[in-house]
């Protein structure tokens, strides 16, 4: 069978320079899935808008074996950027970024089920005068919904290669690679009649952009059109500003149009929509299917004002039930293996510092954290399933009303949901939020969502709080749900406060696309889980191991005189002195100096608290056994013999970790995203202060009530 002209092997020799392709499209149309299919990389994908917020670069290979650079850009509905992530896409395509060369060619990916809406961005991109390949993704979904797209007609209308594709199944990738390999990709034949009254403004701006800003003529024309229809108010780091002359010309035209009272910008946009409407009418053939789709029927339940909340609650309960029941056996296995390893080292080596470093420092510290691997995997399995099916966007939808009451909208909830895995991608995901103040508020409250690093701390405390196996699992699930709810509602409370004081502003209306439900991609979910497992173990084997070794030294030196009990040795050590130094501050919360050491070290990362407890309590154990950490905590006492980890203290400690800002990496990212030290320092102050105050109220209140 003969291949269509645009994908036939080119008679022209392949170019010697590495071609740069930009991958652009609307949010959630499958750009990152296509990027992964082309480059073999593993960029994060998900069935909700806003997964990619920064450009990513990978390498694909042409049919001639030549490398092709592919730049995956954040999704955008148009080149008129409204948020920082969209501004990155606009700036790369217009050659405004000093750190990224302007792409030679553009891969425009569109969601075949929403062709007309997606064509607006395509139409703007064709103005750029670069060779473009149009990729119609999700053709299977379009066909299933009864939609027929006349590919040849679309190709004729736009004058560019059009490739049908199912990126998630790898269909159409070979055709696409063949098209990308062509040395002679045609330029679009698309013609767009700009209203005559606007043409002089476009011409003058185009001339200035060419002469004063060094833009190529076609790019200059496209940018002139964009400047005349866009506020161009969203600027990001690395973006080159307009020259003074161009800015002055733009201002003068805007003032002239304002004086005329004619909305020429709106006219320009309308004329583009007219062209798109005509093309869509020609190429789209709607099916005869009527009535609500399966997606609509499911949405009737999961976005219902009552059943939506019930569904969310049921999902969270199922998550924590799984964490406490399914994880128990692998956790016990890892626990016993860690203990056996410690015993073996103790039996194999004579007494001495190196033996103690290995058993109390390395094994005690790392082993205490590693046993939580099964729970971490279960958490990421659930998160992966929710992301893959499209439920994340629904959760944001049902949260919108609640978020509106605190002055934010549902769009802020996607970054907050991501923060349940880790605050760092959550904070980066705030780049999809248009309003600067809303974005800042979301960044400030994101660390309150209980991230996966808190999970080991919660689980250890719950194990100490309700150690009896006869305690119903639902009690433990209830405590866990309470911690997650406290963090979430605490975040809403602070958002309400900030929106009325520091960062006043009206809550914007949310316009959010609900993606169709998709069958979860189990391979992708499993791959993500394995990646997380590897990252967790790598973290345990590097940072946590390192801190455990240093902590062992700090708890073993300076050496006490011979015959001093191990617990006394730790008390007079460097670590003990540090813990004692902050003890007056934390004693009102029911915490002693040993817990204080954990609070200090866990500033590096929250789960370090668990490894610290492993080092401190194993180092202070009087016998020669490496005890399971949970048992060691239950045996810990105050000097007067009272148990240290009472249920009230465990509960207070969990609450402290719900609110405290114990993560130096998060602070570094907040510094980068806000371009200032003011906000991360404010974040440390308000979160740690709140943690202390609420912990004080809980502990002292609990004591007053007789707990």
């Amino acid at each position: 069978m003969a291949l269509p002209a645009h994908i036939s092997a080119s008679p022209v020799a392949a170019p010697s320079r590495t071609l740069v392709y930009a991958l652009v499209g609307n949010p959630n149309c499958g750009k990152s899935t296509l990027f992964n299919a082309l480059t073999g990389l593993k960029q994060k994908v998900g069935n909700y808008p806003g997964v990619t917020v920064e450009k990513k670069v990978g390498t694909a290979y042409s049919q001639h074996g030549q490398p092709i650079t592919v730049v995956d850009l954040p999704g955008a509905y148009s080149l008129a950027a409204r948020s920082p992530d969209e501004a990155v896409t606009r700036d790369v395509l217009l050659g405004r970024r000093a750190d990224t060369p302007q792409p030679d060619r553009i891969l425009c990916i569109v969601d075949a089920t929403n062709l007309e809406r997606n064509l607006y961005l395509v139409h703007q991109i064709l103005d750029l005068g670069r060779p473009v390949i149009l990729v119609l993704n999700m053709m299977d979904v379009a066909a299933a919904s009864g939609l027929t797209i006349r590919l040849a007609r679309l190709e004729h209308e736009l004058g560019i290669p059009v490739i049908a594709c199912e990126a998630v199944n790898g269909k159409g990738i070979i055709d696409l690679k063949l098209a990308m390999s062509r040395a002679d990709l045609p330029l679009s034949r698309h013609a767009w009649d700009i209203p005559a009254a606007i043409a002089p403004a476009v011409a003058e701006l185009q001339a200035s952009l060419t002469s004063s800003d060094g833009k190529a003529p076609l790019i200059a024309r496209a940018e002139a059109l964009l400047l005349l229809t866009d506020q161009d108010s969203v600027r990001v780091a690395g973006s080159r500003p307009l020259s003074a002359r161009t800015a002055e010309i733009l201002r003068s035209w805007q003032q002239r149009w304002a004086r005329d009272g004619t909305d020429w910008a709106g006219t320009l946009v309308s004329s583009r929509y007219d062209v798109i409407g005509r093309i869509s009418g020609d190429v789209l053939q709607a099916g005869t299917a009527t009535g609500a789709s399966i997606s609509d029927r499911i949405d009737g339940v999961v976005t219902h004002p009552v059943w939506g909340w019930v569904t969310l609650g049921a999902l969270m309960t199922a998550l924590f039930m799984s964490i406490f029941t399914l994880a128990e056996y692998p956790m016990n296995f890892i626990d016993s293996q860690v203990a056996a390893l410690g015993e073996w080292v103790k039996a194999s080596m004579p007494d001495g510092d190196l033996r103690d470093l290995i058993t109390d420092g390395a094994i005690g510290g790392v082993g205490g954290v590693v046993i939580f691997l099964p729970q971490i995997l279960i958490l990421f399995f659930f998160i992966g399933m929710l992301e893959s099916t499209g439920y994340m966007a629904r959760a944001a939808f049902i949260m919108d009303r609640l978020m509106g009451r605190v002055g934010l909208n549902g769009k802020s909830f996607i970054p907050l949901l991501s923060s349940f895995a880790c605050a760092i991608p959550g904070i980066m995901a705030t780049r999809t939020i248009e309003d600067h103040k809303d974005r800042l508020v979301t960044i400030l409250i994101a660390p309150l969502m209980s991230c996966s690093a808190r999970l080991p701390v919660y689980l250890l405390m719950i194990a100490a709080l309700v150690p009896d196996d006869r305690v119903p699992t639902m009690t433990k699930v209830g405590i866990m749900l309470l911690m997650y709810a406290l963090g979430t509602f605490g975040a809403f409370g602070f958002a309400w406060l900030f929106k009325r004081t520091l960062l006043k502003g009206e809550p914007p209306a949310m316009i959010m696309e609900l993606p169709p439900y998709r069958r979860p991609n189990l391979i992708e979910v499993a791959r993500h889980m394995l990646e997380r497992a590897w990252l967790f173990l790598r973290r345990a084997g590097t940072v946590i191991l390192g801190i455990s070794i240093v902590l062992w030294f700090l708890s073993a030196y300076p050496k006490a005189p011979d015959g001093t009990p191990p617990s006394q040795q730790v008390a007079q050590s460097f670590a003990g002195q540090a813990g004692r130094a902050i003890e007056p501050l934390i004693r009102p919360l029911g915490f002693d100096w040993q817990i204080g050491i954990g609070l200090i070290t866990s500033f590096a990362a929250r789960e370090v608290f668990v490894s610290t407890m492993g080092v401190v309590f194993n180092a202070s154990a009087d016998d020669d056994d490496t005890e399971p950490l949970r048992k060691a905590l239950l045996d810990a006492k105050w000097p007067d013999g009272r148990p240290l980890f009472t249920p009230l203290v465990c509960f207070t400690l969990m609450i402290f970790y719900v609110f405290a800002m114990q993560c130096v990496s998060t602070l570094a990212v907040v510094r980068r995203e806000t371009n200032s030290w003011k906000w991360p320092l404010f974040q440390v102050g308000y979160l740690t202060g709140t943690a202390w105050l609420i912990s004080l109220l809980v502990y002292q209140g609990g004591r007053a009530l007789g707990f």
Binding site: L41, K56, L357, I424, S665, V669
Partner: protein, 47 residues
């Protein structure tokens, strides 16, 4: 291994560990973030 020799080896391990942690922290100052530990881009992906 005698207790004295164990102490010397243990202290060397501690010094090397501190040096590695400092080097890691210094490296992260240039590119702050989670080092790939929080679903950030993998190392193969360039920003």
């Amino acid at each position: 291994m005698s207790p004295e020799l164990q102490s010397i080896v243990a202290l060397i391990v501690v010094v090397v560990t501190v040096a590695l942690l400092v080097a890691r922290g210094w490296k992260k100052r240039r590119n702050p973030g989670c080092g790939g530990g929080c679903a950030c881009p993998t190392e193969k992906l360039k920003r």
